[in-house]
Amino acid sequence: MMTIHENDDRNLFDALPAIDFDASKRLHIELVSAAQREGLLDVAYRTMDTPVGELLLAGTERGLVRVAFAGQGHDKVLASLAATISPRILRAPDRLDEVARQIEQYFSGRRRTFDLPLDWRLSRGFRLNVLSHLPDIAYGRTASYAEVAAVAGSPRAVRAVGTACATNPLPVVVPCHRVVRSDGTSGGYVGGVEAKATLLNLEAA
């Protein structure tokens, strides 16, 4: 238990700011560059505002590893990256500057394909196979789940294609939004149907 006296003693340290924002910011920047220098920054992340809400971008030394919508819970996504890749995770916006730049160009209509190193380690097996075929669907075009299943070599695995798209760790950049239902309706989307519509409208313009 803390006594009143002890509380009083704590006041002795009032001159030491509880949180020194300037120093914290400076020290954080230094920590990120030291971590990078020593090869200790396993996952760098940043967020950016886009027409489909705030996106979380995370990268390893191999490339972009995760893109997540706000609705997916950025904290939850970071916690899962800590568990699956490494807990050596820091907010390091600079390391994702190029990714952010290309995504921004995409949303402003000035870019149709992404030219970024991708780290596919969060996808395996058939899902990876499906996802790696998605960039073949051209900008402004769509393909049905059945068509993608056929291209992936398992024409009957339509449902599995849906699952692969729903668990795409790199939405927007790996265009799972271009996969729609055979009847032409949009179908589900990791970022919500509204986000899917926004992306398809952007590309149709």
Binding site: R10, N11, L12, A15, L16, D20, L31, E38, A82
Partner: protein, 165 residues
């Protein structure tokens, strides 16, 4: 709960470690100690037990850095008893009260550390004893003696509205 992203550790405990480093080492060396502490913590972090006391773990690392820094200071050829009063040359508005540091630096090292670890890091005396060596009672005594001296040498904090109590 699995091990959290390290960013969260920096966010939650960074300010506490900075206060501890400043109280133990003063404004000049504190930030280097903070940087070294968090870099070492980042290195060791994946091996940290899930149920570990993160606060005590960080203070233990910071303590080792502080001991190293204190030794390095002692080895410096030209020593002054106390850093002379001078205006801030860094232009940093956050530079904190020099009077408090003057009072803290006048304490014996062990007392200063015990005071910082108990009053700024909120560590129980058993943890402080584990860090400083010696018994729990010795840690409690060091903190008590330190704070008692501080109350008399650092008058600023014990006066409210300019009136000494």
């Amino acid at each position: 709960m699995k091990v959290k992203p390290f960013e969260q550790i920096v966010d939650e405990y960074g300010p506490m470690v900075l206060r501890v480093c400043r109280a133990v080492l003063g404004p000049a060396d504190a930030e280097d100690a903070w940087s070294e502490t968090f870099l070492a913590a980042l290195r060791a972090y994946p091996e940290l037990a899930e149920d570990a006391n993160v606060e005590a773990w960080l203070v233990t690392i910071a303590h080792r850095k502080a001991v190293d820094a204190t030794r390095a200071t002692a080895r410096r050829p030209v020593m002054v008893e106390r850093v002379p009063e001078r205006p801030s040359t860094t232009g940093r508005p956050e530079d904190w009260d020099g009077d408090l540091w003057a009072a803290l630096s006048a304490l014996p090292t062990k007392q200063r550390m015990a005071v910082a670890y108990h009053y700024l890091a909120d560590l129980p005396y058993a943890e402080i004893a584990a860090i400083l060596g010696g018994s729990r009672d010795a840690a409690r005594r060091a903190a008590a003696d330190g704070i008692k001296t501080l109350r008399t040498t650092y008058r600023h904090a014990t006066s409210v509205g300019g009136e000494a109590r």
